[in-house]
Symmetry: C2
């Protein structure tokens, strides 16, 4: 039986494809610290569960294709805190940020079209795009520069007549980069000049450290008709399992087009929307606490990484990831070895090999993404295990 | 700003696109009986809500990309009642039957490929397919024949070297047809001879009336490597708002490919899966009661339709839809008129115009789909309103 080329050519998720090794390690009695996936251990606000538990209709009905009006309104209020003003029909609720990305890609690009993305990028950009025959064209960025953007010339050099947009996460996954206002304005100007859309994945908007200024694409007024903002409750409110995301754009005509995709899949789960309405009402103090917690973790992980021989990374400034160059030839082999053949007192660490976050062949082969989503005690242990693992592995492969 | 051709060419849902007219009618104080959408009024089993309410983790975490093992096991048990035997890795949990269909289409067909479907078909087949550049090629069936399949020759005449599969719902949406064992075996034989997949949308499996035998594609042993079964809790357990569906196939290699798509969107909501585990344990008596209720409604609607002058339909045998030829030139105009300009004592009826369930231009223009998903009192009122509406409309347009 022949499968489609697009599914066969689609890469498996580097975040999840090694899970069978972790499952095996656990079955063998090992404890595995999961730094491979952005699953925070922060408590989901109780208001979510309370709202879900208070649901007392007898029939769990379809919701509106565009999402529940109350949830859309809650998100509109949330955006106002960031000086963004969206009408009711300028926001659509989606099955996580994932579906928002998928719909945005389908809406702006046909089969064979191209979308640029600073590389390393969130690996699923490539997955979603290749599933619908769109090519992600990399704008390569480097660990040595803290993954900041290259020059305007360099970016413009990869634009062709098939380029339809730019997709990027800010703060960056897997890099932790927070783009400067100048970088955002440069991309906006490029988008305007070359008639491109910008898919702005801003699901980590609140996770910015060291008092850095954060600039949303939603704040660059001149290009509001070409900005598509992707958001999600997953990281913001530690509610990954709710799968509630959204698309926001001031381009009403585009939103009417995307609504057709929303109607095709009928609606997003009713209960999860009811819970998420309350999430978006969470007071600002919640973010301050969470932010302080992640900053402590970032500091801890970065300090530990700097102490490891041969490891290269710059201090990440946002999100909760750091993309690290390891002193190994093949990071995926190393990650598998850590799960299969290594432990410290019965404990080991799982990370995501970074090669899948790049589309340029060969890049990222010696890198991993580490998500600092565990409490400080566990993170300390995990980092110590990684350090010992690296030492042992290098001695083995001398 | 240019959008993709595929999104621009994608049709709006005929089930949902006229909702603004209904919203307006309600704002004007009219009561609207919704026969346009398959939203049953049957109670969702309490076990679903109990399970959701008993969730007491502090963090709402991501679930497995393939779905929760307990839910997969519950579905495996369910299938055993129908003589279908699936391994753990032969079932994937999806965001409703909708995502299952989308993933199946992507996995078997590239851009430009073709998938056959008996027409009129579930309108979103066309929506999903065109969003990913796959063409749905119709096998036209007719109200006069109760929407049964044409001859093998007729079906084979539309097969080309681009044909990758056949997608169909059985029982049929919007037609209510239940295919005979001979029809299922004929399609299986065609699939085998022409190396096609069959995407079997069997979400209405339990909704078969008059003691008719039901044959699942899962029961045709010789072609199990080419059968993809799409299922959902939406109609089966009146839990449309849960958005829990599944794909099942004995083709393990195919399932490995589709798993990549599942990993791309990370997972399906955790709470809805926990509730759905209990749904799949619902005792068989539940279906018997629900089935008897729908049969009464079917009888009522069919009898009322037969009494209306100029209306053509055969008795539907399954699901909870009937696709009806009305004595009007343009059914969409008529549906809009019913919402805008007509009422009986402040009440009116909404139906889905059938043109969007056809891909052959011009077909279905004078047809509507009626979902008999209201209680008998409301259905009686709705049918009487439809009758009066038709009479008034015909007099107006004489």
């Amino acid at each position: 039986m022949k499968f489609s080329n697009r599914i066969v050519n689609m890469q498996a998720s580097p975040i999840r494809k090694l899970v069978p090794y972790a499952t095996k390690a656990k079955a063998d009695g090992k404890k595995v610290y999961h730094l491979n996936i952005g699953q925070p251990d922060i408590k989901t606000p109780q208001s979510f569960f309370d709202a879900v538990k208070n649901f007392n209709e007898e029939v769990l009905e379809y919701s509106f294709s565009q999402g529940m009006p109350e949830l859309i309104d809650a998100i509109r209020e949330y955006y106002k805190n960031y000086d963004m003003d969206f009408d009711q029909d300028e926001i659509l609720i989606t099955n996580g940020g994932s579906e928002a990305l998928m719909f945005a890609i389908i809406a702006i690009a046909d089969a064979g079209d191209e979308i640029l993305s600073p590389e390393p990028f969130y690996t699923n950009y490539n997955g979603f795009a290749s599933a619908v025959d769109v090519n992600i064209i990399p704008i390569t960025t480097k660990a040595e520069n803290g993954f900041h953007l290259p020059s305007r010339n360099e970016i413009e050099s990869v634009i062709t007549n098939k380029t339809r947009g730019i997709v990027l996460s800010n703060p960056g996954n897997p890099t932790g980069v927070v783009y400067t206002r100048e970088e955002i304005e440069m991309l906006a100007s490029i988008a305007k000049q070359h008639d491109l859309f910008i898919i702005a994945d801003e699901v980590y908007r609140e996770f910015v450290y060291d008092g850095l200024e954060y600039t949303s694409f939603g704040n660059i007024k001149e290009i509001q008709d070409r900005v598509i903002i992707v958001d999600s409750v997953s990281k913001r409110y530690s509610a990954c399992g709710a799968r509630i995301g959204s698309i926001a754009s001031k381009n009403k005509e585009l939103m009417q087009q995307i609504l057709k995709l929303c109607q095709g899949r009928l609606c997003v789960p009713t209960l999860e929307q009811i819970g998420s309405i309350e999430l978006y009402k969470t007071p600002k103090s919640y973010f301050e606490e969470v932010n302080a917690e992640y900053k402590r973790r970032r500091d801890l992980v970065y300090k530990k990484l700097c102490e490891m021989e041969g490891v290269i990374c710059k201090e990440p400034k946002g999100a909760f990831y750091v993309n690290v160059k390891l002193p190994v030839e093949n990071a995926e082999d190393f990650v598998i070895w850590m799960l299969k053949d290594f432990d410290v007192d019965g404990e080991t660490v799982m990370m995501a090999p970074s090669e899948g976050f790049y589309s340029t062949p060969g890049l990222g082969k010696d890198e991993v993404r580490i998500a600092y989503i565990l409490n400080e005690d566990d993170l300390t242990k995990a980092m110590d295990i990684l350090k010992k693992g690296l030492e042992t592995y290098r001695n083995l492969n001398k």
